[in-house]
């Protein structure tokens, strides 16, 4: 989905609030939220793609104003309710207040048909695909051309894996793009490397 989470290249954000050696956690509840979602993954209540997608399905206002671990917590609770482990009513009764959850999921999809295999150095074009469900294609590379510089072992296909749809695992390619091709005349020069699933790629000739 073309959701609020797809932030790469969006303009209007301010300075990074950087401090040297900043810590990962600032409060005990953050550690607990992180542990609880990891535990649920370990228990196979949901997988990482379902987890990421439930974060993306948060109301955009909530997504943008929530801290990272509040997003984790919201995804965790949403999936526990959707999987039937617990009801929202119970969570709200226990919490003593409203427990905002993510919006329902749209259908997923399986791998693209007739996907090509690529070798290092191949020129590839990213498809124009957009789906209502989960995908791991950042909008800023859609329709753009780059060069394959790496290949990973096969992974579950996120568009299917986040939705319980059958699919084959497929490799991801590290594809190198020039920032000037991604944002013509409006990016600082750099090489941008993106991990791209095979289903999102076609030969660029």
């Amino acid at each position: 989905m073309d959701g609020i989470h797809d932030l790469g290249g969006r303009q209007g954000f301010g300075k990074v609030r950087y401090t040297q050696g900043a810590t990962a956690f600032h409060a005990a509840w953050e550690v607990r939220a992180n542990s609880l979602y990891a535990h649920a993954v370990r228990l196979r209540i949901f997988n990482m793609d379902e987890y990421r997608h439930a974060i993306e399905r948060m109301d955009p206002r909530h997504y943008l104003t929530a801290s990272y671990y509040e997003r984790s917590l919201t995804s965790l609770a949403t999936l526990l309710v959707e999987k039937g482990v617990v009801t929202r009513e119970e969570l709200e009764r226990r919490a003593g207040g409203d427990f905002p959850l993510a919006a329902p999921s749209a259908p997923g999809r399986t791998n693209a048909e007739g996907r090509a295999r690529f070798r290092l150095g191949d020129r590839v074009r990213v498809t124009q695909d957009s789906v209502p469900g989960h995908m791991r294609l950042p909008g800023y590379i859609r329709g753009k051309t780059g060069v394959v510089v790496g290949e990973s072992p096969a992974y579950p296909f996120p568009d299917a894996h986040a939705h319980g749809v059958q699919s084959e695992d497929e490799p991801t390619y590290d594809v190198r793009f020039r920032s000037g091709d991604l944002w013509p005349n409006s990016a600082e020069p750099a090489l941008i490397h993106v991990g791209v699933f095979q289903s999102y790629l076609e030969p660029a000739g």
């Binding site: 290249g9 990421r52 991604l182 409006s186």
Partner: protein
């Protein structure tokens, strides 16, 4: 919020919401409180940047290890007893040079090789870093204190699949002959993300 037809009441605090989830799981025999203990310890004591620092120091002093690390990061870090989660099937180590600065990010969420370089700091997960580092990398790095000479090429690696990245910073000048432990103590998490370089000690 999508549920506009619900009765509007106070939103529970994040602490209350975490408590609610933990208690609900515990009541179902899913041992959430034990997991919180165990995984909390891992997150704070085991998955720390000192792991990556050991990897970097070893790569600096052992050219053969460095080769293996660059060829297959996951296998090479295992030599040092370092594990990665099952769904991180591939660790790509990115070699900085005088001419090249690699920097990692995750524009879609906030993925990292957290068992090796530690769980990411807030700024890495914030919308500012995620939106800007791919499009204005040089300016963002400068704002963060890394003012790169114009001839240095910037390579940004966006963690959009389950391949994980870590940056291999250059060994600081004047540290030739140092012990592995002493070298490891120089390596910062931020240098393994690629937003900082290591100065001479």
């Amino acid at each position: 919020m999508p549920d506009t037809d619900r009765v509007i009441q106070r939103t529970a605090s994040v602490e209350e919401r975490v408590d609610a989830v933990q208690a609900a799981l515990d009541e179902r025999g899913l041992k959430a409180s034990e997991a919180v203990e165990e995984l909390g310890h891992l997150a704070q004591e085991t998955w720390i940047p000192e792991n990556g620092a050991r990897v970097i120091a070893r790569a600096w002093i052992d050219p053969e290890f460095r080769k293996r690390l660059l060829a297959n990061g996951r296998e090479a870090v295992a030599e040092l007893g370092l594990a990665m989660p099952k769904h991180h099937r591939h660790l790509v180590v990115l070699e900085n040079t005088a001419q090249v600065q690699n920097v990692i990010c995750c524009t879609l969420c906030s993925c990292t090789a957290f068992t090796i370089i530690g769980l990411p700091p807030d700024w890495y997960k914030d919308v500012e870093y995620r939106s800007r580092v791919v499009r204005e990398s040089r300016t963002v790095l400068r704002e963060m204190g890394l003012d790169l000479p114009p001839q240095v090429e910037i390579r940004v690696w966006d963690t959009t699949a389950d391949t994980r990245y870590m940056v291999l910073p250059e060994q600081p000048r004047g540290t030739g002959g140092w012990s592995e432990d002493k070298l490891a103590a120089l390596v910062t998490r931020d240098s393994m993300i690629g937003v900082a370089r290591l100065g001479a000690p």
